[in-house]
Amino acid sequence: MSLALSTQLICFLLLSGALLLGALGVVLLPNVVYSAFLLGGVLLSMAGLYLLLNASFVAAAQVLVYVGAVNVLILFAIMLVNKRQPMRPMRVLLLRRLLSVAVCLGLLALLVQVALTTPWALPGPPSIGEAALTRIGEHFFTDYLLPFEVASVLLLMAMIGAIVLARRDVLARDVVTGEPADQALLERQRPPFLPSQGGSSPSAPSPR
């Protein structure tokens, strides 16, 4: 086996091991912070797998979007919410766990079945390497234009929703409770520090 091939194999084994263990950790660990950090590890090893497949752009995008944005957001959410709630003991916990295990095993069986029955072309199509970037761009702006735009509209909606939820004071009535909102929380324009200033903002005193 040549140097490149054995390196590749070792990397593949390491990455998939890290991926599987990490994923199990995300699900099974009781500490939610650990789960979140492990999720970052899982996404990173996934990026590594993409890299092994010569899809460097997809790998970088994976890191940027999932690790850099989504995972950090999850961590933010965990760390900013400090509501201490005692965990209530759930009834029939064992039964619930068994049920979820059964569902997961069923899904796994389905996946394995699909993987086994699909006629994979071996060896697969040659990787196009760096030309992939152009190809992805072309697809985004031709045949996948609609899904692309729909996804962006979805994100926009999510953003507006988040803003509305976060800034309840902009509305006259609270969206959740229906009571009049506390308008005192509204950010007011501060008077400028220097009255001579013509501008509206207190920044940038003119150097004269």
Partner: protein
């Protein structure tokens, strides 16, 4: 970095038959009776080690420069007794941190506490992968180039959050949250500024970005075509490095030392190292993206023809390569110098001013810059890389 197949050889040959360090090295080893595969395997780690050493030396140099320039700005002398002009002071600092006791607070989460600084440092070092010091003087000419750097630098906030959370200290947690918020909000205008440059050069690869700027020396640098982008990029990069005036994750007056509060010894040294490697890296990237990378202000081809030297002669090749390395490093350190000067000029911003500035000022400006670039590219394709 995993060498993906087919591995592009580091320091590989140029089509024109230029400097071939890899080939030469392997030929020497094979002359000693080693197999070609072994020679190749021995060559592979060399550039990486070299760049690691370069990064660390760059850190030592910039720490020394930071101290000396700060001293000069405040009419002090600065380090003087450790070596001539105190040049060994950063080494002494490093040695001190190395032998210091490594304290892990009793209630801290020791695993995450250890992992945090590593996660901050590793992406920064990995980013040196794409910094070109010359036509072929870089570890890997990855196609995604500059995008890789953006992706890698987005891992950093996780390390910051991790160390902030695991210290079990409210100042550390607040500092970590601030740092993460700051680097996320400045990542966006940064990426947009880079995008405008990429649009000009039609490539993400750092080598091509530099080549595209070097047709006419000084005049063809991107800074003339992207003045706004340059400023936006520079500000964002300073914010990403958490340097003054954006150093509020470590604001002493409010947060003790932010996420580094509980760290001592070598773990603290990792943070320290990381921030300075990042600073030098940022200087290098600004040089690559906007100041023509390894390009000398006068085009080398022009100089060679004036001096009646054929471009392909080995002497010219070696001189060109060394001039390229020196030029890149000089440009980077000029920018580091400006960062230091800025540190002693501007007061620290508040967190709300920071976020306002990022989202309400830099982001719209970067967007307008991007749109303008696209429009200009359509109108003047010859100048703006059609």
């Amino acid at each position: 970095m995993i060498p993906t197949a087919p591995p592009r050889l580091p320091f590989a040959t140029l089509p024109g038959g230029n400097l071939d360090l890899a080939g030469g090295f392997q030929a020497v080893l094979q002359g000693w009776g080693l197999s070609p595969g072994l020679a190749h395997a021995l060559w592979l780690p060399l550039p990486m080690v070299l760049v690691l050493v370069a990064a660390v030396v760059g850190v030592l140099a910039s720490v020394w420069m930071e101290r000396k320039v700060s001293a000069a700005v405040q009419q002090r002398i600065g380090p003087e007794y450790a070596g001539p002009l105190g040049i060994l002071q950063p080494l002494a600092d490093g040695l001190k941190l190395l032998v210091k006791e490594d304290v892990i607070p009793a209630r801290a989460d020791s695993l995450l506490f250890t992992l945090g600084p590593v996660l901050v440092l590793v992406p920064v070092i990995l980013s040196w992968l794409i910094v070109p010091f010359g036509q072929n003087l870089l570890i890997s000419n990855v196609g995604v180039g500059i995008f890789l750097w953006i992706a890698l630098s987005s891992i950093q906030p996780i390390g910051l959050l991790m160390s902030g959370y695991s210290s079990n200290n409210k100042y550390a947690l607040l500092g970590g949250l601030r740092a993460a918020a700051q680097s996320i909000s400045y990542e966006v205008p940064l990426a947009l500024a880079v995008l405008a440059v990429v649009m000009l050069s039609n490539s993400l690869s750092t080598v091509e970005i530099v080549q595209q700027q070097n047709s006419a020396g000084l005049l063809s640098w991107n800074i003339w075509r992207q003045p706004v982008g340059f400023l936006v990029f520079w500000i964002c990069v300073i914010a990403e490095c958490e340097r003054a005036p954006f150093d509020l994750p470590e604001a002493e007056e409010e947060l003790v030392a932010g996420y580094q509060t509980e760290y001592t010894g070598m773990k603290f040294a990792l943070f320290y190292l990381g921030s300075y490697i990042n600073l030098v890296l940022s200087g290098l990237l600004v040089a690559v993206l906007y100041l023509g990378g390894w390009g000398f202000p006068l085009p080398v081809e022009w100089l060679a023809t004036v001096l009646h030297q054929p471009l392909s002669s080995p002497l010219v090749q070696v001189v060109t390569a060394s001039v390229g390395i020196v030029t890149t490093v000089l440009k980077a350190f000029l920018l580091v110098f400006f960062a230091i000067l800025l540190r002693w000029t501007t007061p620290r911003v508040r967190i709300d001013q920071l976020l306002d500035f990022g989202w309400k000022f830099l982001l719209p400006i970067a967007l307008v810059n991007l749109l303008l670039t696209a429009a200009l590219k359509l109108v003047f394709p010859t100048i703006f890389g059609g």
